[in-house]
């Protein structure tokens, strides 16, 4: 790319030089052969001066360890160090004593323990001096040491609920104990961070949960420990913390100002927010204004659209024409089941509707607050980012592999009727980041520019480029990325002001996970805002496997299935290992803002429930999903009309 620009400049200068000479004295026009001999040629190697990402890095931006209060309480014994070891490819023993190892190492991990009471459980049971200095802490520790730990645990819980918990034992920011937990979190990340091989990000989860409505965000530092250790994580307890995302953004601003560092925040589980994740009118009692939309757009560059507690890309009620929208849906209530879901909440919970509403808000307020890229991650509370269907170690320790986990209940609130079964927990997902190298800075920068995609646990390689000049033969080039970056923008990018008479063209490419299932199809999801202020969406099947033809409804028929549920097997005798095509928007209106994102669907494969049923010989409950169509969602490319 660089060589061709230089070549153009040189040609220009040479041409200008010849013209100048010609005006003084006519020496004739140079022959093409002469020019060819005079101009420098690109190097023989096509990869010289290549300056774009050449591979995606797979990781998890959302993992909990024993340092999280709830994970510890559920029995998680793996801390941050064990979590990194596992993510890097080592074999470890789970909290239930089962050996476990990933099929392949991940490239990066964010240990994102809850900032509230971070580190309490391990410290209590390790007899940390800060806890022993308090008489009650010492008493509890003595009880634990003498076999009365169960009694101690009960006393702790009762003390919390009655407000008699010793103040010196509370893990508030600013206390020595809390600082210790945060410093250990940083130290673990620093220890396992190995630039070029594995990236251990420093991070935490801010856990806003007012009225049981999930507004959680994971905060990820670009920086090393020297900067991160100058602050302590933001919590939800006033006056040190707040449950309002606006206050989190202020904390992030203050961090950057204080340290010169960089942070970003990734929200998740809009599906459990009961309509509060993507507001369009007001948030926390305040009407959305320019400041809100600008701040949100600035700090929340990514969104975690798939994880163990459901996939939030689309909902069948919002997208009735999308036959793939009903995927791993959790839509019964908020996080704790205290309030049942209502239909009118859905629009403000799902990625695609947020994208559409974001176009509206940009027209009203000047900035699109929902112009985020996409990642997937686990939210596992076991210390294990084990999200492969045949290697799923659950969301919490009670869900580590055992014969009864498929039949157990995850949430059950008899008052509201909200009930979610353990089989509904998904083995999902991972984040894929197109970065130039595996370092904190490079990965973080790629996240910041949204050159990311989300997967539901597999590792397909997915490209998505948009521009004005892609041609069908570009899909035949074996260096599609070279063309993509030269002629267009990558996922997460922007197209503006369509040239006269042109429609956006997209170069899409996907390669199957090398040890996974073939691909069914690559779709592009388009959303746009018309002149009347109404939003629309349409899904296009761009390229698919085999010789299927779209039906009368324009939809490509199902690819079928090779899944043998009873034996938890499948074959790659359907689908295709690679899909690549150039597609032009056939219904483009240059006056209408729009977004486009890629959705890659794999052929059906056994779900973790099928592997459990086979291994343990257990019968699943009626209605249990036993197959899954894994998928990837790219960050969008946005189109903005000329003003």
């Amino acid at each position: 790319m660089k060589a061709s620009s230089e070549r153009l400049v040189f040609v220009g200068l040479m041409t200008a030089g010849f013209i100048s000479l010609a005006s003084a004295q006519d020496i004739g026009s140079p022959a093409k052969e002469t020019l060819d001999q005079a101009l420098p040629k690109p190097a023989y190697s096509p990869y010289v001066d290549r300056d774009f990402p050449t591979r995606p890095f797979f990781g998890d931006t959302h993992l909990h360890t024993s340092f999280s209060m709830d994970a510890g309480a559920f029995g998680a014994r793996l801390g941050p160090r064990e979590a990194y070891r596992f993510a890097r490819g080592e074999q470890v023993n789970s909290s239930t004593g089962q050996p476990v190892r990933l099929s392949r190492p991940l490239d990066f991990l964010v240990v994102a323990d809850h900032s509230d009471n971070m580190g309490f459980f391990p410290d209590l049971f390790a007899g940390k001096p800060d806890l022993l200095a308090d008489p009650t802490g010492r008493k509890w520790n003595d009880m634990i040491k003498t076999g009365r730990g169960g009694e101690a645990a009960i006393e702790i819980i009762v003390a919390f609920s009655h407000g008699t918990f010793p103040k010196d034992l509370m893990y508030f920011p600013g206390t020595r104990a809390y600082r210790g937990a945060w410093q250990e979190t940083i130290a673990a990340a620093e220890h396992f961070n190995e630039p070029g091989r594995f990236t251990a990000f420093i991070g935490y989860e801010w856990t806003s949960n007012t009225n049981g409505n999930n507004l959680h965000r994971n905060v990820i530092f670009r920086d090393n420990g020297d900067k991160a250790s100058q602050v302590e994580p933001f919590t939800v307890y006033p006056p040190y913390g707040s449950d309002n995302p606006v206050e989190l953004w202020k904390w992030m601003e203050a961090y950057e100002k204080k340290t010169g560092g960089s942070v970003l925040a990734i929200a998740h589980n809009g599906n459990l927010s009961n309509g509060t994740m993507f507001p369009v009118v007001e948030a926390f009692g305040k009407r959305l204004d320019r400041d809100y939309v600008e701040q949100r757009a600035k700090w929340e560059r990514l969104y975690e659209t798939t994880q163990t507690k459901g996939t939030g890309e689309a909902h069948p009620a919002l997208s009735p024409n999308d036959e793939f929208a009903a995927f791993e849906i959790w839509d019964k209530g908020n996080l704790d089941g205290s309030v049942a879901k209502k239909r009118e909440m859905l629009e403000f919970e799902y990625t695609r509707s947020a994208y559409k509403n974001g176009l509206k808000l940009e027209r009203e307020l000047g900035t699109n607050p929902y112009k985020f890229g996409l990642v997937g991650s686990s939210d596992s509370h076991t210390g294990l980012t084990a999200m492969e269907e045949d290697n799923f170690f659950g969301k919490t320790v009670p869900q580590e592999p055992n014969p009864h986990r498929m039949g157990a209940t995850f949430i059950n609130n008899p008052k509201t009727g909200v009930k979610v079964m353990d089989w509904e927990v998904g083995s999902s997902g991972y984040a894929a980041v197109w970065a130039k190298e595996n370092t904190r800075a490079s990965l973080w920068d790629a996240m910041q520019r949204k050159e990311t995609y989300s997967t539901t646990g597999t590792r397909p390689i997915v490209r998505f480029f948009g521009g004005w000049d892609f041609e069908s033969q570009d899909a035949h080039n074996r260096l599609p990325a070279q063309i993509g970056y030269t002629k267009g923008v990558a996922m997460g990018g922007d197209l503006r002001a369509a040239p006269q008479g042109k429609s956006p063209t997209f170069l899409v490419a996907a390669l199957k996970d090398p040890i996974g299932a073939n691909l069914d199809r690559y779709q592009i999801v388009k959303g746009w805002l018309d002149k009347d202020g109404n939003v629309h969406e349409k899904i296009y099947d761009v390229v698919w496997s085999g010789d299927r033809r779209p039906g009368p409804d324009g939809k490509v028929p199902s690819v079928g299935s090779t899944v043998d549920v009873a034996n938890a097997t499948w074959t790659n005798t359907i689908g295709a290992p690679e899909l690549i095509k150039v597609w032009t928007d056939p219904e483009f209106d240059p006056t209408q803002p729009a977004f486009y994102y890629g959705r890659v669907i794999e052929i059906p494969t056994p779900r973790w429930t099928a592997y459990d049923a086979k291994r343990y010989g257990v019968r699943p409950l009626p209605g249990t999903a036993m197959t899954v169509t894994e998928r990837a969602y790219t960050s969008p490319i946005w189109y903005t009309p000329a003003r």
Binding site: G75, G97, G150, I154, I157, P403
Partner: protein, 194 residues
Amino acid sequence: MGLRKAILKQPLVRSVTFGTMILCLPPGAVACGYHDDVSLARGVLNWVYPDALHVVGAMAQAVAEKRLPARATARDLFGYHRVVRSLQEYGKKLQMPSAEMQPSAFSLLLIEPMLWARFMPEGSGFRTQVHTSGPQAGDLVVISGEEVVRGVANNSWTVGQAYRSGVMRLYGTDEQVRFFLALHDHAGRRRPTQ
């Protein structure tokens, strides 16, 4: 008033503090498994008795290898009575091999329902007390599962086999553990037919 004290006195903060923990946790923090979710109690167990939950992993492996059945006891009164019978039968297997050996009482926790039972030497055997509140000071603690106890009760497993395969874990002094195994290693052994 100090800032931290002031914070803790705020009902909202207390409820948020506890609520934040509890919102992420199942209700019914303290219960045997026959009347409420016991995930919290079981989770804390893994800290109080380190690696206690390895029993779960070992039992899962045993089910996969068909050494244990996969069935789950119904969480109702009938299920409870079945488990009580199993525990009583288990106690009957723990015969004292000789008058010279003086066993101590021990407590056993069934990990699925988080149900405690205590076994006290009485005469030539043990008296079983089910649904105790926990171990008493000095008790050896045995952690295992319903099907393991049932297996010992119906001579499918011995205590020694259960211990060595990890589906039964013992917590006490080294001497207590040694003595227990020496005494009960063969409990549950199927007697040869005449």
